[in-house]
Amino acid sequence: MIVDEILKIEDLRTHFFTDEGIARAVDGVSLSVKKGRTLGLVGESGCGKSMTALSVLRLVPSPPGRIVGGRITLAGENVLSLPEIHMRSVRGKLASMIFQEPMTSLNPVFTVGNQVVEAVRIHTGAGRAEATRTAVEYLAKVGIPAAHERMSQYPHQLSGGMKQRVMIAMALCLRPALLIADEPTTALDVTIQAGILRLMKEMQAETGTAILLITHDLGVIAEMADEVAVMYAGKIVESGTSEVIFADFCHPYTEGLFKSLPGRTPRGRKLYTIAGTVPSALAFPDACRFHTRCPLAMELCRTKEPPLVDAGGGHRCACWVRCGGAA
C-alpha cells in the first residue's frame, strides 16, 4: 500500500432499505485520495456521490441507510470496524466535512466564535483561552476581516461567503488528514466561489490536506481536481487524471456531460442532450446502468455489467463499447 494514500475506499456498498424497496445508492465504489491531492467526484443528483462521502464519516442516515459492504481505510484506520464511540475522534481529526449550505450548517443561536471554539475544545482538549486563540487564527487565515470581532457575531450577521469561510475554518483548524467538501460553492455566486476555491487550494498547500471534492460543476472540477471520478447510478463509470478526463474522456456518459455544457457549444447550435432522465435509486437498470440512455448501447450492455478497465496511465473506464474489446 502506498504510504501517502489518505483515503482508500474499496467496493463500498451503501443501500437504503425503504418501504418501496432497496435503493442501491452506492453500489461497489472504489477510489483513493492521496496526501496533498484533490479527487473530484462528479455526477448528477441522486448518483450517490454525497452518500459515498457520508459513508466515509459513517454519517449515512440510519435507518433506512446501511453500509452493507466494502472497506474504508482512512489514514490507516479501518473506519467500518471502529466502534461508534471512536468515530467521534475520526470525525474532525482524521476527516472533516464542509456541506453545501452554509446557511443551515451553522447553529443560528450560538455565536460563530462559540461554535468554532467548541469544535477545537472537543477534539483537542485545549483550554478555552488556547482554543479561542486557535479559532481567531483560523478565521483570520480563511480571510475573515476583523476575525476577533466576528467571533461574537451570530451566523445571520454574516454573508453566505463568510459563513462558508467559517465552515472551512472550523473544518481545517483541527488539521484533518482529509477534507470532504460536498458542493462547497454551489449555493454561492461565482465571485464568492472563486475566493472559496482559492482558499481551499492555499490551505491545502499549507497543510497537505487531501481533499475529496464532490460537485456537479465541471468548471469547479477543472479548476481544482488532480484526479476525477465520474459517478452514475451508484457506480464509478470513469476515472483518471483531470487532464485525461477533460481531453480524452471515454465513457458515453462522461461524453454526454461534457457535450451538454452550454459553454462548449457554439451559439446558435443545439446543445447535446442525454436522452431520458437519471433513474431512481430504487430502479437502477441491470447490467450497464447507463444502457437505457446510452446512444451506443448494444446487446451485451443490457445483459452483463462492464468492469472498470484500465485504459492506460491510470485512466479507467467501464464500457463494453468503448473499452470492452479485451473482454
Binding site: 448528477e44 465541471l218 468548471g219 479548476e223 477533460f246 452550454p262 446558435g268 447550435r269
Partner: protein, 328 residues
C-alpha cells in the same frame, strides 16, 4: 446559426426608462420606513421583438427585480415601462393588467416551489386560461403539454410525481398557456442537473423559434447566458454597469466589474488553469449606496473621479455601453 445582424428583427417591443424599485426597511413599533433597499436604481434598456436579452450579476444585484417589474408582479416605485408603446408601469390590477398578462408571462427559478402541490397539472397549466375566460381548456392543456414534451396522461397527476426537469416543463407550459409574446425567464435552469439543463435550454430555443417569443433571461450562470442571449446586460447593486451584444461582451469586457466577474469563472480546461480572479471586499449595501460608481470601493482601476456625482452610461464601442469614467 443566428447572426448578429439578424437580431434586431421585429422592431421595438419593450422600452424601460429609469426604472426604480425601492423596498422600505421598516423599523420600530410603528413600522415606519427607516430607509429603502434600492434594489433597482435607475435602470434603462430596450428590447426588440424576437430578441433574447440576458441579465447577469451576483445575487442581490437587482436582476430578478427588474424581471418582476417588467411582468408587473411588482409595481415599480418610479420610471416608465413601455410595452408596445403603452406605459404599463403604473396600471393597476383590473382589466388593463389582465390584458397585459396575455402578452407577458414568467418562468420561475424553483421548479419545486413554483407549482402548487395540491393542484393537478391540468389545473396548473389551465389556470391562466380559466382566468382569461377561455373555452376548450382541456384540449389546449393537452396541446401545451405536447408542446413542452410531456405526455397527455400528465394532466391528472400532481407536481410531486415529476422530476425537476419535468416540473420546469410544466412551468413553461403554464407560461405559454395564454399565448404570450414575451417571457421573463428567471434562472430557469439553475436548479437542474447538467444533462437536464441542456434539454430545457433547447426547449426554450425551439419555442422561441416556433412562437416568435422574446425572452428576458435572468441568470447567474454566464455560460448559459452566453449560449442563449443575443445581448447581455451586466448589473451591480441596482445599476446597469455594461451592455453589449453577447460575443462583443465576452470578447472585450470593458467595465472593470465585468472583467472581474469573468475572471472568476472557472476555465473548463485543467491544462489552462489561470488562477481564479478574486474581487477584494464586499459589495456596498443597497440601502445607502455610496455616491459615484458603486464598484469604486473594490475596483482595481479606481480614480478620484469615480467617487464624485453620478457616473453616466457611455457608448464605449459600437453599441457597447459601459458605466465607467475610463470611457468618458
Amino acid at each position: 446559426m443566428r447572426l448578429l445582424g439578424e437580431v434586431r428583427r421585429g422592431g421595438m417591443m419593450l422600452q424601460v426608462d429609469d426604472l426604480r424599485m425601492y423596498f422600505p426597511v421598516k423599523k420600530g413599533l410603528l413600522r415606519r420606513a427607516a430607509g429603502y433597499v434600492k434594489a433597482v436604481d435607475g435602470v434603462s434598456f430596450s428590447m426588440d421583438k424576437g430578441e433574447t436579452v440576458g441579465f447577469v450579476g451576483e445575487s442581490g444585484c437587482g436582476k430578478t427585480t427588474v424581471g418582476k417589474c417588467v411582468v408587473r408582479l411588482l409595481r415599480p416605485t418610479d420610471g416608465a415601462i413601455l410595452f408596445e408603446g403603452q406605459d404599463i408601469a403604473r396600471i393597476r390590477a383590473g382589466k388593463d393588467l389582465k390584458e397585459y398578462r396575455r402578452k407577458t408571462q414568467m418562468v420561475f427559478q424553483d421548479p419545486f416551489g413554483s407549482l402548487n402541490p395540491r393542484m393537478t397539472i391540468s389545473d396548473i397549466v389551465g389556470e391562466g386560461l380559466v382566468i382569461m375566460g377561455e373555452k376548450g381548456i382541456e384540449e389546449r392543456v393537452v396541446n401545451l403539454l405536447d408542446i413542452v414534451g410531456l405526455p397527455s396522461e400528465a394532466r391528472s397527476r400532481y407536481p410531486h410525481e415529476f422530476s425537476g426537469g419535468q416540473r420546469q416543463r410544466i412551468g413553461i407550459a403554464r407560461a405559454l398557456a395564454v399565448n404570450p409574446c414575451f417571457l421573463v425567464c428567471d434562472e430557469p435552469v439553475s436548479a437542474l442537473d447538467v444533462s437536464i439543463q441542456a434539454q430545457i435550454i433547447n426547449l426554450l430555443e425551439d419555442l422561441q423559434e416556433r412562437f416568435s417569443l422574446s425572452y428576458l433571461f435572468v441568470a447567474h450562470d454566464l455560460s448559459v447566458v452566453r449560449h442563449i442571449a443575443d445581448r447581455i446586460i451586466v448589473m451591480y447593486v441596482g445599476k446597469i454597469m455594461e451592455e453589449a451584444a453577447t460575443e462583443a461582451l465576452f470578447a472585450n469586457p470593458l467595465h472593470p466589474y465585468t472583467q472581474a466577474l469573468f475572471s472568476s469563472i472557472p476555465s473548463f480546461d485543467p491544462s489552462k488553469r489561470h488562477g481564479l480572479g478574486v474581487i477584494p471586499g464586499e459589495p456596498p449595501s443597497p440601502v445607502d449606496p455610496p455616491p459615484g460608481c458603486r464598484f469604486a470601493s473594490r475596483c482595481p482601476k479606481v480614480t478620484a473621479k469615480c467617487r464624485e456625482g453620478d457616473i453616466e452610461m457611455v457608448e464605449a464601442g459600437q453599441n457597447h455601453y459601459a458605466r465607467c469614467v475610463l470611457y468618458y
